[in-house]
């Protein structure tokens, strides 16, 4: 029996951390909320350590929850991203009157959901993880009570999220009907045998829709700009990176690994989605007046790029996917952190105009932002380029050269709106006064870390590449 709980340890540990922070918050007076930050970070670190420590433990509850290399890889990503989000939000939360305690608890709870999603080998368990995460993030989006936009964004996210969950669940039901089980291994076995083809196809399709929504693929992306724009910036960062990464983890494990035999069925649809997502994301981002909203569209576009890896599939495709998730996380988190730095009391300094002249007032922030923008656009020495390089290489290797070409063209379009930020920072005057280092030390730490990560992943990608390769290998 003991083995069952080993695989559960990371998730359980994170849950315990959340509860500890929750209880602590009840008993700490208003001005000592700092302790909550450190407890949350400690909780994250501990669960990451536990995951690494017990890597490879055999599955819990009849192999529905695995702690294989793949899961551990993502758990580390979630832990780091959650930690960075907390670092990013310390100053932000205090200034905007969001209840600090609940904020960190919800981030930890959504991390619990993500860990379950990454290590779930059963559709229902995956569903539960997905819902835990989503519900926590719905509330997070609406935490900024004094701003109508935040409430509205939470409302929109909730409505569409629940709607998509309906489809996702219906898909699971149909697959359950077709294959007799929701356990991915048993489904995989049943795929070979005779089963109601239409039922299975419909089920797989609906699951795909559910995931596509979560990843903000094209026809299901309409909620992203409004929700990302309305939510507090750290939450937007969390949504754009962690939630998307968890969805892709699920997508990779379920579709790439377990449902490999059905490849020819779902690849064309995913390819169409990928092309639509990339193009739409890039083109619409061109005329945005707010950097935050532009970053929202950019995250849609990058979801499109990530889907290229899914279409490419196989060992190389999965490796490219995992590596790109990490590099995407680094640069996007950093970019949102800098946007968060521009917040002034109640107004979100996120418009292009607000960035004007930042280069002279806050050289460090401006330089970091330029790094992120260049990396997002895919300029060589940085993580974005290496990520895209492996992505397109995987696509070409799998014979989808047209996808690679479209990807490159899209990157070309994206250069415009990314460099416009840099142009604003260094060649225009005016703009909002950003937070100083003393004002938000944690924020600067987050920006610093992500900037270093962006450059490191660009120049020395072998470390991350090797890790992602190991993660994929453990899937077998």
């Amino acid at each position: 029996m003991a083995a069952d709980y080993v695989a559960l340890l990371p998730a359980a540990q994170m849950l315990v951390a959340a509860i500890v922070v929750l209880v602590l918050d009840l008993f700490t007076p208003a001005d000592e909320k700092g302790v909550l930050v450190w407890t949350s970070l400690a909780g994250l670190a501990l669960s990451a350590w536990v995951a690494l420590r017990f890597r490879g433990a055999e599955g819990a509850f009849g192999n529905t929850l695995l702690l294989d290399g793949f899961a551990v890889f993502f758990i580390l990503v979630f832990a780091v991203v959650a930690a960075l989000t907390i670092l990013m939000s310390v100053q932000y939360v205090r200034e905007s009157g969001i209840r600090e305690g609940e904020f960190y608890v919800l981030i930890l709870l959504s991390a619990v959901g993500m860990i379950i999603m990454a290590s779930a080998n059963d559709l229902i368990l995956f569903f539960i993880g997905l819902e835990t995460m989503s519900i926590a993030v719905y509330v997070l989006a609406g935490m900024w009570r004094s701003r109508a936009e935040s409430a509205e964004s939470a409302m929109k996210y909730f409505l569409i999220g629940a709607f998509a969950t309906g489809f996702f669940l219906y898909g699971i039901a149909l697959i359950y009907g077709a294959t007799g089980s929701t356990h991915l291994d048993r489904i995989a076995e049943a795929l070979g045998g005779p089963q109601a083809a239409l039922l299975l196809t419909a089920g797989v399709f609906l699951v795909l829709v559910g995931l596509a929504f979560k990843v903000a693929a094209a026809p299901f992306h309409f909620w992203v700009p409004d929700v990302y724009d309305g939510a507090p910036t750290p939450v937007t960062a969390f949504m754009a990176v962690a939630v998307k990464a968890a969805a892709f983890a699920g997508w990779a494990r379920i579709f790439l690994h377990q449902w490999e035999p059905l490849r020819d069925e779902w690849t064309p649809a995913v390819k169409a989605l990928a092309i639509l997502t990339m193009t739409l994301g890039n083109v619409l981002a061109v005329t945005q007046s707010s950097v935050k909203r532009m970053l929202a569209y950019s995250s849609i576009a990058h979801a499109g790029y990530l889907m290229i890896a899914l279409v490419a599939g196989g060992e190389v495709g999965a490796q490219a996917l995992l590596f790109y998730v990490v590099s995407y996380a680094a640069m996007t988190l950093g970019a949102f952190a800098v946007v968060a730095a521009l917040k002034a009391d109640d107004r979100e300094g996120a418009a292009y105009a607000d960035f004007a002249g930042l280069g002279y007032r806050k050289p460090f922030l401006a330089m970091a932002m330029s790094l992120f923008m260049l990396s997002l656009a895919g300029f060589p020495p940085l993580a974005g380029f290496t990520g895209k390089f492996y992505l397109f290489r995987a696509a070409v290797a799998a014979g989808h050269t047209d996808l690679a070409v479209i990807g490159v063209l899209n990157s070309l379009v994206s250069v415009f709106y990314y460099l416009r930020v840099i142009l604003m920072m260094y060649m225009q005057e005016g703009g909002v006064e950003a937070k100083s280092f003393r004002g938000a030390p944690y924020l600067y730490a987050a920006v610093g870390f992500t900037a270093v990560a962006t450059v490191y992943l660009g120049i020395l990608p072998t470390g991350a590449l090797y890790a992602s390769l190991g993660a994929i290998a453990s899937l077998r």
Binding site: A164, F205, P219, F222, A269, V283, V413
Partner: protein, 627 residues
């Protein structure tokens, strides 16, 4: 045998050039001149040492490093020195040194002195690389380098726009020739690769020459010859040389008389084994050589600028050299090149000294009666003039006579070629002595102010003149009919071409007498017309066309220059903004348009999104099922 001596011949001038560029101006007026001359003198000493080491068929080799390495093909920066190179080196460094010495005097009062000497040294560097190169690629580096230096030096006084346009003209016309040369080189490499010998080293070329397909050989040699016409100013690419006189006189002397213009002849001599394979090209070279000689000779007769006369004379003498090469007498061509370097350099420096004395005046009609005022210049000018005209004791007589002999007697030669050569010899004598009488004899036609301060040039300028004048005489004795030293020396490199063995036993002395006779007739005519008082009126249609250089420049301008610039303007004004910019901005505008309308889609109403979600699902499901 290998040595590491050769590398210093080019490196010394290069080092001096670099030093002059950075420190020239700062370390006092004379520093630049002295450093430059010392460097070239050093190279001259090494060249002498190499000359001593060499025997007719020995080859010194010095490899520095591998420049290009791509599997089968390997191009190295490596120098070789055989008999032919030794001769050329002596000319370049020897006469180069004399001209550097001369320039210290001539450029003394010019504030850009350091820059001048830097360019001059750079030129000597490139010319020696050209001559020492052991493969065609390095040769081409030298070839381009000298083109660059000639451009820099022609346009040296860049304040005056006329000089810069002359520089541009020289560069562009050279580029046309170089383009043909490049094509020839590539075709040659293509052919060599086909033969399985992917290398451009002269040695490898020589061995594989026999196996090259005849018609390809003709094409290759033709392309090389077009390159040579560009560099050595033959028809049709000679137009740049007369305008090159815009540069300082020492430049004209060194580059546009002695060394660079002879690069074309050196090329034909170096690749003689190729040209021999293509008799069609050889005869073409001969015809063009002869035609250029005669054509340039006639124009020289009607020129009034002292340097332009010499410029056309150079073109004409180069014509002679190509005539010799065309009839297969490569050693005669190189011999004429050798002697021509001496007396033409002496003439140019003499003209420089006259201009120096006359305070920059170059029009002969405003000179005269300088014989007594500039004795040293006069006598050296006379000796060099005699050499150019080909009067017996001088070197000019031996080399020109050898060429005319070859033109008549050699298997490729013919009576017509000899006749053209013969008439040109007469013309040469005539225009040479016309110049001599106009400048030095008769009464001075210069205004009083100029005449007042006419003075003999300082020692630094007259010593080189004297040395060159002596050279113009002594150089000839290397190939006396009785004791011929020249031919056996170059035999190993250029192959046998002694007229005595082939053709009917023509009466040599008759031919010699005829050549000297026509020369004397030329001189007498010049004396009669210009000797004492000017009686002839220089006008009339014939004279006008000659003076106007047969309107060739205007013809080229009309045929090539004007249409080219018109096309360029149209492209710049109409095509580029309209089409290219249009396309680029068009696409950007399109994307912006789509983006703006796309944004409208984001209506903000959550139910629209839900509806889009639903429609999206249905569409994709249909797409999924239909696949």
């Amino acid at each position: 045998m290998t040595t590491n001596l050769l590398r210093w011949i080019p490196l010394l001038p290069l080092a001096a050039a670099v030093l002059n560029v950075f420190f020239g101006g700062r370390w006092g007026k004379r520093f630049a001149g002295i450093l430059a001359s010392a460097a070239v003198f050093g190279s001259f000493l090494i060249a002498l040492r190499v000359f001593m080491l060499l025997s007719p068929d020995a080859v010194l080799r010095d490899t520095l490093y591998t420049w290009i390495e791509s599997e089968p093909f390997k191009a190295q920066v490596s120098f070789q020195a055989d008999a032919l190179t030794a001769v050329m080196l002596l000319v370049i460094t020897g006469i180069g040194f004399l001209i550097h010495l001369y320039s210290t005097g001539y450029m003394a009062h010019d504030e850009g002195e350091a820059r001048f000497f830097a360019y001059l040294n750079l030129f000597v560097f490139f010319m020696s690389v050209l001559v020492l190169a052991d493969n065609l690629l390095l040769f081409f580096v030298g070839w381009e380098g000298v083109g660059l230096c000639s451009f820099l030096l022609i346009g040296f006084w860049y304040e005056d726009p006329a000089n810069t346009t002359a520089g541009n003209k020289a560069f562009i016309v050279n580029r046309i020739g170089d383009f043909a040369f490049l094509l020839g080189m590539l075709l040659l490499f293509w052919e060599m690769n086909r033969l399985g010998v992917p290398s451009l080293d002269f040695a490898a070329l020589k061995d594989a020459a026999a196996r090259i397909a005849p018609d390809t050989a003709v094409l290759i040699t033709l392309l090389f010859f077009i390159g040579a016409t560009g560099k050595s100013a033959q028809i049709p690419l000679y137009v740049w040389l007369p305008d090159a006189m815009a540069g300082p006189t020492p430049v004209s002397a060194l580059i546009h008389a002695a060394t660079m213009v002879t690069a074309g002849v050196y090329l034909t001599a170096r690749l003689n084994f190729l040209f021999v394979l293509a008799p069609y090209t050889l005869s073409l070279i001969a015809i063009i050589g002869a035609a250029t000689a005669l054509f340039a000779g006639t124009i020289a007769v009607a020129q009034n600028d002292i340097k332009r006369v010499l410029a056309y004379s150079t073109v004409s003498q180069l014509g002679y050299m190509f005539l010799a090469a065309g009839v297969g007498a490569f050693s005669a061509a190189v011999f004429h090149l050798f002697t021509h370097a001496f007396f033409k350099a002496c003439l140019f420096l003499g003209a420089g000294s006259v201009i120096h004395a006359m305070g920059g005046e170059q029009d002969m009609r405003k000179m005269g009666g300088l014989r007594r005022r500039l004795p040293a210049t006069y006598w050296t000018y006379l000796i060099a003039g005699l050499a150019l005209a080909g009067i017996p004791p001088t070197a000019g007589f031996f080399s020109k006579d050898r060429i005319l002999l070859e033109a008549y007697a050699s298997p490729h030669g013919s009576l017509a070629l000899w006749l053209v050569g013969w008439i040109t010899a007469g013309l040469t004598a005539f225009y040479m002595f016309r110049q001599l009488f106009l400048v030095f004899h008769g009464t001075s036609r210069a205004p009083e102010s100029v005449q007042a301060h006419v003075h003999e040039s300082p020692a630094a300028m007259t010593i080189p003149l004297i040395v060159l004048a002596l050279g113009s005489i002594a150089a000839g004795w290397l190939a006396l009919p009785s004791r011929d030293v020249w031919d056996p020396w170059l035999q190993a490199v250029l192959g046998r071409s002694n007229p005595a063995e082939h053709g009917e036993a023509v009466n040599e002395t008759l031919l010699v007498a005829l050549t000297v006779g026509i020369a004397l007739v030329g001189i007498a005519a010049a004396y009669f017309l210009y000797g004492r008082e000017r009686r002839v009126r220089e006008d009339g249609p014939l004279w006008g066309t000659l003076a106007q250089k047969y309107y060739i420049d205007e013809l080229y301008d009309f045929l090539f220059v004007r249409p080219f610039t018109a096309a360029a303007n149209w492209l710049a004004r109409a095509f580029d903004p309209g089409i290219i910019d249009g396309a680029v901005n068009g696409v950007a505008g399109l994307v912006r348009g789509i983006s703006a309308s796309g944004r409208r889609l984001q209506s903000g109403n959550v139910q629209h999104y839900l509806f889009a979600f639903l429609i999206g699902t249905i569409l994709i499901f249909v797409y999924w099922l239909r696949r």
